[in-house]
Symmetry: C2
Subunit: 333 residues, 2 copies
């Protein structure tokens, strides 16, 4: 659990593309984002107040979150100065970098001396149990994709916002580093030991009110041979009552696998639903989420209408047209 | 890679049930088993020569393998004396215990001083790659089960022996601690980090001669919600050309999951084969392996005949009736 709110460190990020994590925090948990801290030459700007460490502490910020990727996998001297000063100023540090904060002896030493915490969200900090498969109270929804990186996280977190706006009980449950940094909590599922994957998802989505929905962040795809085991563990550990099928229609090959083509939405449905029913016999496919960023608005609308007609399911692009139809579907279950 | 041959340490095992690993080595790799070492009160006997450490070294043994479970998860003083003496005598140590050899400071110190190795086969010793899904040369066979512990390892290693007897090229590929201790090599798949599971299976079953078969040890079950992600990674990382369906017909509930009942062989076939074809479109179900230990011989034969007729697949209990039919099926592919 990372202490909130945050000061967002953008470093010397060349552009906004490098600031994906910080943008996610600003967009999805604006209350967590007190301000931004930028180094000379930074090409990213979140539109938040630029703050010194002292100003951010005075404004209540508790953790400095590294909201950008670092170049070459090395924490530079310029970054280090800020990180050390932040610890001295009373901030915890949180990051999802490949090179871990805990592997930097100077940061470890200063954190110990100042009593602060270093959060590497790529690394599990909990001893997860082995899954027991017991039925849990409350409801759970899991987006599953025809491929990796088709919008599963966006779908879940956009549904959470819409459900809160409707005064429905809902919690986005992060399973990847970006989601964990956005919410301050979650399971870095791709770094969990094989035997404990499904158990970590059970741990993440415990008993809850009968009318509460967990919106679980998906990972990988049953059709992506590198990561399908992780997806399988989400389906069985998550015990979803509802699946959302996620798709990017213009993709010609599976991400990172040039010899593989993505399946159709029908193939995804027919593969994922029987597997989900092993853990929850009442599971249904509630809707379809399509990433239409590479289509014109007209084409996108036509595509969604075709899906709705052929699959008899509500279909939307939650980024372009909002997740309302998907939330309607959950509310009707 | 564990150096062979072995001296098998039985300690103070109360009975043969506690000596499962040692029995596996004796039965499947008799050339690896130079002799046994037993402490006073040991109730297990492999029928091998009882040897002192000195005698076993003289006979060529290179590694002392702990072939029994220890009581209460603690390595006792009596065991320690033998393990330390073995290191001093020039043996490496290998074990699949829950409490690791490497977590015993005295064993670590003596191993360092003597230049010997401590092998904890529950812990990966390789940085496995992320799976790339590329088609590999050679053929692969994977047993998949309706449940855990239905005979998948036995099926694969019995098929390897039969194939060697027929001068076919075949290699049993261990993915669990018992299999790794038996063969001296393999991947402890249930201890691998989620993102690298499928890649570790690719690493374990690399390019080979076109007429060579890898017999991959299965793990878990697609229908066992605690471990299905591991099974999924085996199916996609292993790229099997042939699946063997494994079943224990008298089991009323899934192992360790009282609320779940095992699927039928037909359900297993219909679930596993489409998933396998994502990674290898040519994959087929080659046969059925039934664990009939709780059935009379007459009932077992009738059950197998019924399966053969209803599923149009060769079916055998490889322990009771030999794996010949399954090997016939691979040879015919």
């Amino acid at each position: 659990m990372i202490e909130t709110p945050y000061l967002l460190f953008l470093g010397d990020a060349p552009d906004m593309l490098a600031a994906k994590v910080a943008i996610g925090i600003r967009d999805w948990r604006p209350d967590n984002a007190v301000g931004q801290l930028r180094l000379p030459g930074c090409g990213a700007d979140l539109g938040l107040s630029d703050m010194t460490l002292e100003e951010a502490r005075a404004a209540g910020a508790k953790t400095l979150v590294i909201g950008v990727a670092n170049r070459g996998g090395v924490i530079s001297k310029e970054w280090k100065k800020v990180l050390v000063a932040a610890l001295e100023e009373g901030f915890d540090l949180a990051a999802g970098l490949h090179n871990l904060l805990r592997n930097e002896p100077d940061l470890v030493a200063v954190a110990e001396a100042t009593g602060r915490s270093l959060h590497d969200v790529r690394v599990p900090e909990v001893d997860y149990p082995i899954a027991d498969g017991k039925k849990r109270r409350g409801k759970r929804c899991l987006p599953v994709g025809t491929d990796c990186s088709v919008g599963k996280m966006y779908t879940a977190i956009a549904m959470e916002r819409e459900m809160h706006a409707r005064n429905m009980k809902a919690t986005f449950r992060a399973t990847g580093q970006t989601g964990i940094l956005i919410t301050g909590d979650g399971v870095p599922l791709d770094a969990v030991i094989a035997d404990f994957m499904a158990g970590s998802v059970e741990w993440l989505t415990p008993d809850n009110d009968e009318d509460h929905w967990d919106l679980i962040e998906g990972q990988g795809s049953l059709f992506h041979v590198s990561y399908s085991g992780v997806t399988m563990a989400l389906i069985h550990g998550g015990q979803p009552d509802a699946l959302i099928l996620c798709h990017e229609p213009t993709r010609a090959q599976m991400r990172g696998l040039p010899d593989y083509t993505p399946p159709s939405l029908e193939e995804l449905r027919d593969t994922a639903l029987p597997l989900a029913r092993i853990a929850n016999s009442g599971c249904v496919v509630a809707g379809v989420s399509v990433n239409t960023q590479h289509m014109s608005e007209e084409d996108a609308k036509a595509y969604l209408a075709e899906i709705e007609s052929s699959m008899d399911l509500p279909a939307t692009d939650p980024y372009r047209f909002g997740p309302g139809k998907l939330v309607d579907a959950l509310a009707a279950l």
